[in-house]
């Protein structure tokens, strides 16, 4: 293997470059072919959802239901922050790239946890005034010799993969107007696609694609049509200008159909009667031409949403049999309490099933179209009257955390939460848009419904039935990983990472990571050893409701620990660096 000498770069706190030597090759770069070929590349984890279909399914076979109880920590790495971790780490060529809160990026030796470099973006003062849900970040993207991250103030930053140095950066949103970014960038065909947060700040959502090499803007697609464009008839007056439809989670991609799939969030303000119409394309799934960004079709889960039921969670693309017919499906578990199965070639609704009990915002979905019949009694009006208990609460159902799919079993593994909420609108005459200010116009309160909130559930898609259900006392906010050997990995709010038998739902292994897990597990293989990695760290939305031990840490597990020599293999000179002027040589006599 080649070695690359790493230069030290000093730029205050903006970037911390750790010098040292790495055993990884600097020559190999990530190509479009390699990203498309991710299904056959089980050893690495190159894309947010592992593969473009988002299945988070690994064909590595070393860790099995029979031996998983013997999993033990191999290394851990502190992300040095108490603001919450929501990332999916990536692994390429022996290096793990993981982001912490505030879009801090770490490159680590994936075998030993040795830090190679880290990047910390500067943030403008007052940025926190437009972050509804904490300074979280859900991960990075890889292409060429670069690592891409979106900063909270809506900049796309391309970092050199070997040094962490900034190659270029592009501002794609004005944070002062409430445009922020928390998701992982998504690379398709040499373009980096970025989305914005800000559904609580009266933004008009969009997606943008930048040339991965040069950083040149390739296309912009608004998720709310302008007057005259298709879909604009679903808006009244000027409501579209501040109508939301943020794009704060990642997407999915079908290379054969050349379609990118991306979910959109809630409309603004939350009070639905102030924006009559369906409000396209809020709370929707969009299918876009991968070359032009043009919207090919849309499916709206929750028309004229009045409950903050974002539809941002990206779908899983799976080929399934529905009513005896093979279907190219998109599976999505929604905050509105339903699990949707759509035809991903054309956006046609196939069926949906409730993920939680007692859904009452709708009396049911149209069996042909999936359009909900709204229960008006459970839809708050601009009259300051409290509507309660609305099921599910605005956190869902399933919020942003990615589920996994085992194509051998045909099971989707879905984290869902059973809870309720109260909503109370502000006084109608007080509701006014002001740039960069909260534009919810609603007070909310989440409620428990008994002792248990979280459920990890397995859904047999073809047979339309739930197979098992593991209750968890606190809400689940972690992603899921499925393996070919029949395991399901995830984490919980108590801080446990767990492995479950995919068929029976029996929990086979648990480990306490020290803080709540709201990130997503991955698995990879180096030198014949299979590892499972998961970041832990309480933060994000669960910190609205729970207090607990804090601190971000990446945990990595394997069946056998490294030998004393292997674990120590360095050089570690960049992992811990001397404080400048802290220790000096003994003065000359």
């Amino acid at each position: 293997m080649k070695t690359a000498t790493r230069k030290r770069m000093l730029a205050g706190i903006a970037a911390t470059m750790i010098h040292g030597l790495s055993p990884v090759s600097a020559a190999e770069v990530v190509t479009d072919e390699e990203l498309r070929g991710a299904p056959a590349n089980a050893a690495e984890w190159l894309i947010y959802g592992r593969t473009y279909d988002n299945q988070r399914f690994s064909t590595l076979t070393q860790i099995t239901p029979e031996n998983v109880a013997g999993l033990r920590p191999v290394w851990a790495f502190s992300l040095g922050n108490v603001d919450g971790v929501e990332a999916t780490p990536l692994v390429d060529n022996g290096v793990m790239y993981v982001s912490g809160p505030h879009a801090t990026v770490f490159a680590l030796d994936a075998r030993t946890g040795r830090r190679l470099w880290q990047y910390k973006p500067e943030e403008p003062e007052g940025l926190g005034t437009v972050l509804c849900c904490g300074p979280v970040n859900r991960g990075v993207a890889l292409w060429g010799d670069m690592v891409y991250v979106m900063t909270l103030d809506a900049r796309l930053v391309a970092l050199n993969r070997d040094t962490g140095a900034v190659v270029w950066e592009k501002t794609f949103g004005d944070w002062q107007q409430g445009y922020a970014a928390t998701g992982a960038p998504y690379v398709v065909k040499g373009k980096v696609i970025v989305g914005v947060a800000g559904g609580e700040y009266g933004i008009r959502g969009y997606l943008q694609a930048y040339d991965a090499k040069s950083g040149d803007l390739a296309w912009t697609t608004y998720t709310i049509p302008a007057p005259g464009e298709p879909g604009s008839e679903t808006w009244t007056g000027d409501a579209w200008k501040t109508g939301g439809a943020p794009t704060w989670q990642s997407g999915a991609y079908d290379p054969e159909l050349n379609l990118i799939y991306w979910g959109t969030g809630n409309p603004g303000p939350w009070v639905a009667e102030l924006r009559p119409g369906d409000n396209l394309y809020t709370c929707s799934l969009l299918a876009l031409d991968a070359d032009t960004g043009k919207i090919k079709w849309h499916y709206q889960y929750t028309p004229n949403d009045g409950w903050d039921y974002d539809g941002n969670n990206a779908p899983i693309l799976a080929d399934v049999t529905i009513d005896g017919k093979p279907v190219k499906a998109a599976l999505q578990s929604n905050r509105n309490g339903f699990f949707y199965v759509l035809d991903r070639t054309n956006g046609k609704f196939l069926f949906a099933v409730p993920t939680v009990e007692g859904i009452n915002w709708t009396t049911g979905l149209d069996p042909a179209t999936g359009r909900p019949t709204v229960n008006e009694a459970m839809k708050p009006k601009a009259d300051q009257k409290t509507v309660t208990p609305i099921v599910p609460g605005l956190e869902g159902g399933t919020n942003w955390f990615p589920m996994a799919y085992n194509p051998d079993l045909g099971y989707a593994f879905v984290p869902v939460n059973q809870w309720a909420m109260s909503l109370t609108s502000h006084k109608k005459e007080d509701i006014a848009y002001k740039p960069g200010q909260v534009f919810m116009a609603m007070d909310y309160k989440m409620h428990t419904q008994g002792d248990t909130v979280g459920h990890l559930k397995a859904f047999d898609v073809a047979n339309r039935k739930w197979v098992w259900d593991i209750p968890s006392p606190l809400p689940l906010f972690a992603g899921v990983l499925a393996t070919k050997t029949g395991l399901v990995f995830t984490g919980d709010q108590l801080g446990f990472v767990s492995a479950t038998d995919a068929k029976s739902g029996k929990v086979l292994w648990r480990f306490q990571t020290g803080s709540a897990i709201n990130a997503s597990p991955i698995t990879y293989e180096i030198d014949g050893r299979q590892y499972v990695a998961i970041p832990s760290g309480l933060g994000g939305d669960p910190s609205f409701y729970y207090q607990g031990p804090k601190g971000g840490t990446v945990w990595v597990f394997g069946l056998e620990p490294l030998s004393a020599e292997e674990a120590y293999s360095g050089p570690w000179s960049g992992h811990v660096v001397p404080v400048e002027g802290g220790l000096t040589p003994v003065p000359a006599q």
Partner: protein
């Protein structure tokens, strides 16, 4: 139940794990929810250290106490700024009705934010008068609750 632990909100809360040197960080901060049950007591024992505050305050104590119109303005401002983190009685940020930060100490935190926490600086976004209106609303709420 699959899980052996019985969870109650009370038992899972961290209690009193507040080293003296951390008090500045925990009081009134958005990231300080873990000590919310204790922050009032902690602040009473360890008031924020007076650092040089060269800001020229327009007022040095609550100018809007009992002024219903200004308090109503404060409520509107609270809902569109503070509420998203602090909610009605605390959320990601602590319950501000329980804050013992008095007058300019409170305004200063709103103005400058709280380093090491998620509490941002609101200068440039809110005028001092707006901050005082918010403060007046919170104090009125706190007194109403007592």
């Amino acid at each position: 139940m699959m899980h052996p632990l019985r969870y109650t909100a009370r038992s899972a809360r961290d209690r009193a794990a507040v080293p003296g040197c951390a008090v500045l960080v925990v009081a009134l901060s958005a990231g300080a929810a873990l000590v919310a049950p204790n922050d009032a007591r902690a602040q009473a024992h360890n008031p924020p250290k007076a650092q040089a505050d060269t800001y020229d305050y327009q007022w040095t104590q609550n100018p809007f106490a009992g002024d219903e119109e200004k308090i109503a303005d404060g409520q509107r401002l609270y809902k569109n700024t503070c509420y998203i983190c602090h909610l009605e009685n605390g959320g990601r940020g602590p319950n501000l009705k329980k804050s013992r930060l008095a007058d300019t100490a409170f305004i200063r935190v709103v103005r400058e934010g709280r380093k090491g926490t998620q509490m941002p600086a609101w200068r440039g976004k809110l005028t001092e008068e707006e901050m005082w209106k918010i403060y007046a609303y919170i104090r009125a709420q706190a007194e109403g609750a007592e």
